[in-house]
């Protein structure tokens, strides 16, 4: 494998890791607050459809992005009402929303555009286009680092950089702010938060809303940056891989970044089975590469790579009692 092939693969790694990263960070907020969210997939799908449709109809990617966030927020709100207000089962609510999104996105897209459940292709202002970072052209000829900067680091859409910036931001919010302290506390022991005079319900809804916004970004990225429009089931299980990354990273923001880059790398390899075969001299079936993130997560859950301790109050509705 030559250097330029490696750069190509790293370039796709970053592009493919971004939706995972956004979704995984979104799930991090909800889960650290004690609300498990298996519905990342559904929220991404809803956001992808809404952003693709609105971006096409309005011609503005920003309106599309807003629509995506809005759609994801609606799904997050339903999950919040079901699991916080009515203390329902969080897994069932999440699964139900995933099914709802899978069916409804296709239905709405078909009603609007009659193109077999897809939204029409978008281009120009209706899409997030690659941004060339400063000096990328000038540094292109610097050996080794120049092409790395030009090919891999530069030339992505704004959302890629936003996703990466969100990693330190999430860490800071969680560990250095009052909101973060309370958020972590409510996921560990809601009774402690309640008796300290802080609203458990308010905190959890805030967390679920953040999840909605970030998951909206992830979905919008799928339809308006990674692809040019929405297609049936376009998230293809990324919501679940993001969840796997979150567990793999033990619910910590910086580790989430590494997990998503790793899983994105596997996805990039799955697109280039020829390269994999050339490097390791064995023909690896693509489904095996697709399954790698899950296999790794199972290993983590089985305790082989350190112990993954979920937030203690995760999945448990809070019932006030003494």
């Amino acid at each position: 494998m030559d250097y330029s092939t490696l750069l190509q693969i790293l370039d796709s790694t970053l592009r493919l890791a971004t939706p995972l990263l956004l979704a995984s960070l979104s799930g991090l907020f909800s889960e650290r607050s004690g609300i498990f969210d298996i519905g990342l997939e559904g929220k991404m799908l809803a956001a992808a459809m809404a952003s693709g449709a609105v971006a096409f109809l309005s011609g503005s990617v920003w309106l599309g992005l807003l629509a995506g966030i809005g759609a994801s927020l609606v799904f997050a709100a339903i999950h919040g009402v079901a699991s916080i207000t009515f203390r329902g089962n969080q897994l069932i609510s999440g699964v139900a929303l995933n099914f709802l999104a899978a069916g409804m996105t296709v239905l709405v897209a078909q009603r609007l555009f009659s193109q077999g459940g897809r939204t029409p292709p978008i281009s120009g202002e209706a899409r997030f286009n690659p941004v060339t970072l400063p000096f990328a052209e000038a540094l292109r000829d610097v050996p080794i680092l120049g092409p790395l900067y030009y090919e891999v680091i530069s030339g992505h859409s704004l959302l890629v950089y936003a996703a990466i910036a969100l990693v330190p931001l999430s860490w800071w919010v969680l560990n250095r702010t009052r909101f973060g302290l309370r958020l972590r506390a409510v996921g560990e022991n809601p009774a402690a938060v309640d008796t300290a005079g802080v609203s458990v319900v308010g905190l959890r809804f805030a967390a679920v809303a953040i999840t909605g916004v970030l998951c909206g970004l992830a979905g919008a990225y799928m339809a308006t940056a990674l692809q040019a429009g929405f297609g049936k089931d376009m998230t293809a299980g990324r919501g679940y891989i993001a969840l796997a990354a979150l567990i793999f990273a033990k619910w910590r923001p910086v580790a989430v970044l590494w997990a998503c880059l790793l899983f994105g790398f596997f996805q990039a390899l799955a697109l280039r089975p020829d390269v994999v075969e050339a490097v390791i001299q064995v023909k690896v079936p693509v489904p095996f590469l697709d399954a790698l993130p899950y296999l790794l997560t199972v290993l983590v859950l089985a305790g082989f790579v350190g112990k993954a301790i979920p937030p203690r109050a995760g999945g448990e509705p809070y019932v006030k009692e003494r």
Binding site: T177, R178, R182, A185, V193, D194
Partner: protein, 518 residues
């Protein structure tokens, strides 16, 4: 400030949960700068009343005056603002946070943590100096002992500038030493002009620590008296509504031959941590061996291993026969057949199935017995129910309705159901853990009498309890457990709480050795 101003005054507080009237027209006045005890049996409404004061529940009727002013307390935030702090029986702390983080949670000074943390560090230093409340502010909660956890809870309240501190059953999990320390802290708080409300069911603590005491019974306030002008007997009578025997009456034991011999018993938990580190003892027929100790020092594992609920290594002999400690024959059913009855510590998880009716609960362990089989396929449920009715009558279970689900009985009656089932199988050895936890005084008296009666029939009894009073009054011999080992044996007549307390804290007592009952 005048001596007689009131910190808290409650007028006509009522609260119902469905058909249950938890508080009925409660009036209470707590003078400023005093330690005020509230005593009552389980279910008397003490905790409900304090939860209303802390804004956890809303009263159906009544008024709350704080410092003489009518105050509405719809939520905990308002209670904190009014200067009320609460230390719950089950601590409300975040396990993987530091002490400092727990203290500032909900009382942060701004959106960023840095300033709050450094301020809290200073305040905590001052508080620990003033009140003997020393805790490492950077320690993680999960690494601290219960005594320290309680101090963190008190610090939390003081950091929120509470003038009135409510403590709900604070000594349940403490060693006598830690309890003494707690009372010194409370005394210090009182001297600084703070008001302390102490909820407990332990008469001794009331007598030692409080200035005034209010007695509750079945949701009503029965009396408020000056502690100096009353006696434990009088208080117990007020609590129960009739005269009760506080001292257990029993004849001296007449130990017979050895029933149970335990040699080097070891147990590991699911994390492979050794919980029982080589325990050896004997119990003779007609003898009660009491195991004292702070909860979590291996007593639960001892009961579980002997009762067939946990695998163990070592050697256990019951009336000369070796009991398998793992694999075939080490299950609870085999132990029962071997003649061991077990009243588990946690009756809600191991003693009863709460949603099942009383007769089904009493049938556990017996439904395979020949006398309850109608034919090859069916059990004789009528026989089981008749049997249950007989046991319920004998053990005074109220109400005596064998169809009622276990959860509908009070704590004391639930325990009587378990005790009836276990004792009526006429075992050679009775394992009984926390026999009176969450049980009202009347039922305690009854259960204690039954245990003594079983002993007098020449049975061996292993009694595990965290209540030192219970151990001292019931046992014929006392062993103290600490960190998975027995620290030594004592004769209850020749030891005192002080010595046992030292042993419970891991310090060897004055004498050592195996101390066979002479």
């Amino acid at each position: 400030m005048a001596e007689n101003t009131l910190a808290i005054e409650l007028k006509g507080i009522s609260k119902a949960f469905g058909p249950v009237q938890a508080n009925k027209d409660i009036n209470i006045a707590v003078p400023k700068g005093t330690i005020h005890g509230i005593i009552g049996e389980n279910g008397a409404g003490k905790s409900t009343l304090m939860s209303i004061l802390y804004g956890f529940y809303r009263a159906d009727a009544g008024q709350i005056f704080v410092g003489g002013r009518l105050t509405a307390i719809p939520d905990s935030q308002s209670a904190i603002r009014a200067g009320i702090g609460m230390v719950f029986q089950h601590f409300k702390l975040v396990q993987n946070f530091t002490v400092l983080e727990n203290v500032i949670l909900g009382a942060e000074d701004g959106p960023l943590l840095n300033t709050s943390l450094s301020k809290a560090r200073k305040v905590l230093e001052g508080l620990s100096r003033d009140y003997e409340l020393d805790v490492d502010p950077d320690a993680l909660i999960e690494d601290l002992s219960v005594g320290h956890l309680q101090r963190v809870e008190i610090l939390k309240a003081l950091y929120r500038q509470a003038d009135i501190l409510i403590l709900d059953e604070p000594t349940g999990v403490l060693t006598p030493d830690e309890a003494d320390h707690l009372f010194r802290i409370l005394k210090g708080l009182k001297d600084q002009g703070k008001t302390v409300i102490l909820i407990t069911h332990k008469l001794r603590e009331i007598m030692e620590a409080t200035d005034n005491v209010s007695v509750m019974r079945r949701g009503t306030m029965v009396a408020t008296v000056k502690t100096a002008e009353t006696s434990p007997e009088r208080l117990a009578e007020l609590m129960v509504g009739r005269k009760v025997l506080l001292e257990v009456e029993k004849k001296p034991a007449t130990p017979g031959k050895v029933v149970l011999k335990v040699d080097d018993l070891r147990v590991r938990d699911e994390h492979k941590v050794e919980r029982l580190k080589g325990v050896s003892f004997e119990i003779r027929a007609g003898e009660i061996l009491g195991i004292a100790g702070v909860a979590g020092n291996g007593q639960s594992e001892l009961l579980a291993a002997l009762g067939g609920m946990m695998r163990a290594t070592g050697k256990v002999t019951l009336q000369g026969t070796d009991l398998p400690l793992s694999g075939k024959g080490s299950d609870g059913q085999s132990r029962r057949r071997a003649g061991i009855a077990h009243v588990p510590e946690d009756r809600h998880h191991y003693g009863l199935i709460l949603d099942f009716s009383a007769w089904e609960n009493v049938a556990f362990g017996y439904f395979n017995e020949p006398e309850y089989q109608k034919n090859a396929l069916f059990m004789d449920n009528d026989a089981l129910r008749d049997d249950t009715r007989r046991k319920m009558e004998k053990y005074d279970v109220r109400p005596p309705d064998c169809w009622l689900p276990a959860k509908s009985f009070s704590g004391g009656n639930q325990q009587k159901i378990v005790v009836a089932r276990e004792m009526e199988q006429n075992p050679e050895l009775l394992l009984i853990g926390q026999p009176t936890r969450g049980v009202d005084i009347g039922a305690i008296e009854f259960i204690h009498k039954q245990i003594i009666a079983l002993r007098d029939q020449g049975k061996a009894i292993l009694l595990v309890s965290v209540e030192l009073d219970e151990i001292m009054s019931m046992s014929d011999r006392i062993a103290v457990m600490f960190d998975g080992r027995l620290m030594g044996f004592r004769d209850p007549e020749e030891t005192d709480e002080r010595e046992l307390g030292m042993m419970m804290a891991g310090m060897a007592g004055k004498r050592s050795g195996q101390g066979e009952a002479a």
